[in-house]
């Protein structure tokens, strides 16, 4: 899975797989699915859908792509097409059901066990972040989760889905991050991981 810094590489790889698949290489679709599903999962979960529903939403987006590949006019946009399709479908399903319980308020799931000190530190920091995020507005939570996984989110579409003016996405993201920092500081968590803990 890519980090934010590696997102460009992720989209480039996605485009390459998609072009190969359109050219008749069926295995390239498997590669594309394995590459992008982890990101699409996060996009779906940003709408606070339960795990099963989020999985179904991601699957729907893939089937929509396979059924109508020509709706992606430019292969370079396949990643954006899929994230948009996932976000829209997740948004639609969430609205249909009425807003479900925020995922963020649930108890933290236990991570797959690694070892010792590193895990303790990571756990602590994750726990601080998780609880600070949970105190943000619903809009901030969704915006930050999508922003964290997409380097250059399509602001126009994102704005429509979040019911916000396009020009306010960037500033809102900045305010959400500032608010998050304030909450982290208030909870006694350091500004970044790697800071000294004693």
């Amino acid at each position: 899975m890519a980090t934010t810094g590696g997102t460009e590489q992720l989209w480039n790889d996605a485009t390459r797989h998609f072009v190969h698949w359109r050219d008749g290489d069926t295995a390239a679709m498997d590669e594309l699915v394995r590459l992008l599903t982890p990101v699409l999962w996060q996009v779906a979960r940003a709408q606070h859908l339960d795990e099963e529903t989020a999985g179904d939403v991601v699957q729907s987006a893939w089937l929509a792509l396979v059924r109508n590949p020509d709706s992606v006019r430019d292969p370079v946009a396949v990643g954006r097409w899929l994230t948009t399709a996932t976000r829209r479908e997740a948004w639609r399903v969430a609205r249909q059901r009425g807003r479900t319980d925020p995922v963020v308020d649930e108890d933290l799931p236990l991570p797959a066990s690694r070892s010792a000190e590193e895990e303790a530190t990571t756990n602590l920091r994750d726990r601080s972040l998780w609880h600070a995020v949970a105190q943000l507005s619903d809009r901030c939570q969704r915006l930050l989760r999508v922003a964290a996984f997409l380097d250059r989110p399509d602001y126009a579409r994102l704005a429509a889905d979040l019911d916000m003016p396009v020009g306010s996405i960037g500033p809102t993201r900045g305010r959400c991050l500032a608010k998050l920092r304030t909450l982290l500081a208030a909870n006694g968590a350091g500004p970044t991981r790697g800071a000294n803990h004693d």
Partner: protein, 142 residues
């Protein structure tokens, strides 16, 4: 993006990946769903009804009829030497042309007409989507 924002967003990304990871079997589930989607195409058998040479043009006409669809395909030359595929169908709303260099989609017009121009020579297949079912032809040499 200012540097601190990027750092914090990266941290959030890592946190969400650890705390709320995708179920490990999700990609397999999706790959299986896509494969099943492909299997749902019923294979058609086409028969040639005529092959004629008119003024040097070579046109090939193929047909297929089942309970759920009828299909007539005419493959002919364009003036520029490339090929074209014209079709008439019933029970079909969208047609996909699979060629060695990619796939193209045509909507089916009034009277069941569809067409693909500028088709490169070589093997192609047609996929046809009806309201409830999808069909696929064997390879046709155009």
């Amino acid at each position: 993006m200012t540097e601190p924002d990027e750092v914090l967003l990266n941290e959030l990304q890592a946190m969400w990946q650890r705390r709320d990871p995708m179920p490990v079997d999700l990609p397999d589930r999706i790959v299986a769903a896509i494969a099943a989607e492909d299997l749902e195409f019923e294979l058609l058998s086409l028969s040639a009804i005529t092959e004629t040479a008119v003024r040097g043009d070579e046109a090939q006409v193929l047909e297929c009829a089942t309970d759920e669809l009828t299909l007539l395909v005419r493959i002919s030359d364009e003036p520029d030497g490339s090929r074209r595929v014209d079709g008439w169908s019933e029970g079909v709303r969208q047609v996909e042309l699979l060629t060695p260099v990619g796939r193209r989609v045509a909507d089916v017009g009034d009277g069941g007409r569809f067409e693909f121009d500028d088709v490169p020579r070589g093997p192609v297949r047609l996929r046809l989507r009806g309201e409830r079912k999808a069909f696929q032809t064997p390879e046709i040499e155009v």
